[in-house]
């Protein structure tokens, strides 16, 4: 574990203010910071391995991570791609302390802020603005997951790729084609075929 001395804490503050549409007081921000553990992860290092309990949710200050499972045939299935200002972790394992089926590793060198479940619950109780932040975050997550689920059960691979590019235009530069195919639940060959068939979308994504 590497502690880092100088963190761009203003970025976290801006994130909280923007999400909650208010201004966190210095006192409240100090309470929040006291609970967060700064953590550096180098590319390819793991934050979590299958079978372990997910001790922390990680807030991404810098870098990129992925959360995935490995099936019986050894295939990776990417469930979450995490970039700046996103939380990544296995919520079920984190709150229930059950062994996780997931791996989380860094796709780029990353700077994280970690929090465990009792600490997060404590903050929700003591800092009303954190309770509001969690509520808003949960709402946004619920909407995003509902959209993704809708697309997964009712859209073609081509439609899903087009929606993905529209929603996350920067992801194509940060994550490999292989990872994006896995995230969309399609084979890499299918993704190549779609990109060949939709050159304007592929070009817009690559530019």
């Amino acid at each position: 574990m590497f502690r880092f001395s100088l963190l761009p804490m203003q970025a976290l503050r801006d994130y909280i203010d923007r999400q909650t549409r208010s201004i966190i007081s210095d006192a409240d921000f100090a309470v929040v910071m006291a609970e967060l553990l700064p953590y550096k992860l180098q590319k390819k290092q793991f934050l979590l391995r299958a079978g372990e309990v997910c001790q922390y949710q990680a807030f991404v200050m810098e870098g990129a991570l992925r959360l995935y499972t490995v099936d019986a045939r050894g295939h990776k299935h990417i469930h979450v791609l995490g970039v700046v200002n996103m939380w990544i972790g296995d919520r079920e394992s984190w709150s229930q302390l059950t062994p996780s089926p997931y791996y989380i590793d860094a796709v780029e060198d990353s700077q994280l802020l970690l929090i465990n479940c009792p600490q997060a619950q404590g903050l929700v109780r003591t800092v009303p603005l954190v309770a509001e932040l969690v509520r808003i975050q949960d709402e946004r997550n619920a909407i995003a997951t509902q959209q993704r689920l809708h697309d997964a059960i009712s859209c073609s691979a081509e439609e899903r790729y087009a929606a993905f590019i529209a929603q996350h235009p920067t992801y194509v530069q940060r994550f490999s084609q292989l990872m994006i195919a896995s995230y969309l639940g399609i084979s890499p060959e299918t993704l190549s075929r779609i990109r060949a068939r939709l050159p304007h979308i592929a070009a817009a994504a690559d530019s």
Binding site: T69, D71, H77, R135, D138, I143, T145, Q146
Partner: protein
């Protein structure tokens, strides 16, 4: 309303007070929906989120080929609605239809936020609900993206044992994102395996 109160108490650390329960009830509007009636149609804004007291409903979309895709199935003590449309006030892509006569409690997003702000017990209930909902939806999403039809059906049966009796097979197939024919085949195969195992035991 006792059932609703029991439901609330089961999700929070301390039983809800009479005063808080009265405030909660005041934020909801009761609504009866007959079988096959709609609470929401595609193109409308989903003004209310619904808590199901009795009955069964489905939330579904219809694609350009006319195929229906079931996003949610709901029975007693479930919440159902288009969260996206309800929060962002955008036109919904979904239909919400009663599959049995249903008795609902409806709440607008504004009233929901007001309750969360003013009744801490309600905020606690909603936090727990959002947390569990996110875990369940993520699992379903991953199953849809990376599991076989058979794995999805087995997981569905294990997680929602009551659903199989309440909903017809073609809706369950749609909910799982598989063809009705595929679900029939999976069920026949599982049944054959079960009876074979029973024969070997006898």
């Amino acid at each position: 309303m006792q059932a609703f109160r029991t439901y609330i108490d089961a999700g929070i650390s301390m039983p809800v007070s009479d005063a808080d329960f009265a405030r909660i009830c005041a934020a909801f509007v009761p609504k009866k929906l007959k079988k096959k009636a709609f609470l929401l149609r595609a193109g409308e804004v989903c003004k209310h989120f619904a808590f199901v007291l009795t009955g069964a409903l489905r939330l579904y979309s219809v694609d350009e080929k006319g195929v229906e895709h079931v996003l949610s199935l709901a029975i007693e003590n479930w919440w159902v609605g288009d969260r996206e449309s309800c929060v962002l006030l955008t036109p919904s892509r979904y239909y919400l239809e009663a599959l049995e006569d249903a008795s609902l409690l409806l709440i607008t997003h504004a009233h929901m936020q007001e309750l969360i702000r003013t009744v801490p017990a309600w905020a606690e209930l909603m936090r727990g609900l959002d947390h569990r909902h996110e875990i369940a939806t993520q699992k379903r999403l991953q199953a849809a993206l990376s599991s076989t039809g058979e794995e999805r059906y087995l997981a569905f049966r294990a997680q929602y044992p009551a659903f199989e009796q309440r909903f017809p097979q073609h809706l369950i197939a749609s909910y799982l994102g598989i063809l009705p024919e595929t679900l029939s085949r999976i069920r026949a195969k599982l049944l054959a395996a079960t009876s074979q195992a029973a024969e070997q035991l006898s």
